[in-house]
Amino acid sequence: MPTSPPAPALPPVLDIQLHLQAHAPGRHFSLGVAFSSPSLRTALLGPSGVGKSMTLQAVAGLIEAPGHVHVQGQVLQDSQRGLRLSARERGVGYVFQDYALFPHMTVRQNVAFGVRRPGQPRSPQAEDRVNEMLARFQLEELAQAWPRHLSGGQRQRVALARALAAQPRLLLLDEPLSALDTELRLRLRDELQSLLEQIRIPVLLVTHDPQDVAQLAQTVIRLRPGEAARPEHVAERPAAARLA
């Protein structure tokens, strides 16, 4: 499945430039991240500690970082223009590394969380949406189960269903496979690959595993320690060159 680059007139799928800063006692962390990607599926690759997860948090609006975040031409943040949507306004789905499922809610309640706000009347569309996501991720039989009783693979499906049920304009995946053991990782990587190829929204994933990149992403951004303050280059990697 060869990837065709978008027509030049179209804005890039992702256009991100952020200045990340963190203060900890005795440590100051400052890092510029800048990249744009023409593809729907982009991976940030690099060893731990180079600010991959922080980049995701800043893109989601969970931490403050000056810069801009454009997704398919839509402005989520542009510090120069004084624009900054809050995390709740961004419509960015976030799948956390350990999934961060709400432990006091059932699978169904987790998936429904982003679909209907409290105070809004119950709508058949919202119910349909939740049912559709439960079916799509084969979670119907687990709908009333509690997250603590689920396996790692099931948790990941719930986290994906919860994020996608809210109909985000961008999906962020933080080390989506690192919480799993090796055998499961291989299988779930295949599942994730077919899912990501189905959904028609941009995906930005963070990983330290080149195998994830080869199978899940079309474009890779390499973050390296030391040269982090400079804009990062984008290496196009056609799907045909996947490592088998």
């Binding site: 948090q57 989601a60 609006g61 969970l62 809050s86 995390a87 709740r88 961004r90 419509g91 960015v92 789905g93 976030y94 956390f96 350990d98 961060a100 709400f102 432990p103 006091h104 969380f113 982003g114 706000r117 409290p118 919860r162 994020a163 809210a166």
Partner: protein, 221 residues
């Protein structure tokens, strides 16, 4: 149970319940705020909120008199504008018990909020939840066990409150005389049997409360 026990017992339960309600709402709200924000004076405010736990109750009572006494900083306006006088009333006893027990619920709730995985709140925000919804649907349910245990301690402390209550509300049998003050009264009057009986009642209630809160904390997972 004789009326000389029932009346102070009823008054004590009423005062402790209302004081727990007041310090519960205030303490949980402050705990949530203090757990999430860092600002100049954060440590000082934290210390001030814990102060009632370490100050001698008489000193605390004196502060309250300065504040809400008939000619106090707030009290004079309460009296002039609203016709409210807290001195030597059971409402004054509620105030004293609430202030004295506030640190317990504040500390307990803050620890419970800070123990909660911050990513749960973050996940809720990315799913479109506002801060109030995060509080009601994520933070509060996650911290509920710790908050409930804190409330039980608060209640026990409010029930046993003596010093500040005596200074604000006095010792008026049937009006402001709570169980702990009735014990003091009985001992002063040489009524040992009454003192022993009252002591037994208040001890039993406190043990029940502590066993309950201990059980709640133990089953935390």
């Amino acid at each position: 149970m004789p009326e000389s026990t029932l009346i102070p017992l009823w008054l004590t339960l009423k005062v402790a319940c209302l004081a727990t309600l007041a310090s519960g709402v205030l303490g949980v709200g402050l705990a949530w705020w203090m757990a999430r924000r860092r600002f100049v004076g954060h440590a000082l405010l934290d210390a001030l909120l814990m102060l009632p736990m370490v100050l001698p109750p008489t000193v605390l009572g004196y502060y309250l008199i300065v504040l809400v006494g008939r000619n106090g900083l707030l009290g004079r306006y309460l009296d002039q504008w609203l016709g409210i006088n807290l001195m030597f009333t059971w409402q004054g006893a509620v105030l004293a018990a609430a202030v004295v027990s506030l640190p317990l619920i504040y500390k307990g709730a803050r620890a419970a909020f800070e123990e909660t995985d911050p990513r749960l709140a973050q996940a809720a925000r990315t799913l479109g939840a506002g801060e109030l919804e995060v509080f009601w649907r994520i933070s509060l349910p996650m911290a509920l066990r710790g908050i409930t245990a804190g409330l039980m301690l608060t209640f026990a402390r409010a029930m046993g409150e003596f010093g500040a209550t005596l200074m604000i509300a006095g010792n008026l049998p049937g009006k402001t005389q709570t169980l702990s003050i009735a014990v003091y009264d009985a001992v002063q009057a040489g009524n040992d049997a009454q003192a022993l009986w009252l002591t037994g009642v208040i001890s039993a209630v406190c043990v029940l409360v502590l066993v309950g809160s201990g059980r709640l904390l133990q089953t935390r997972h």
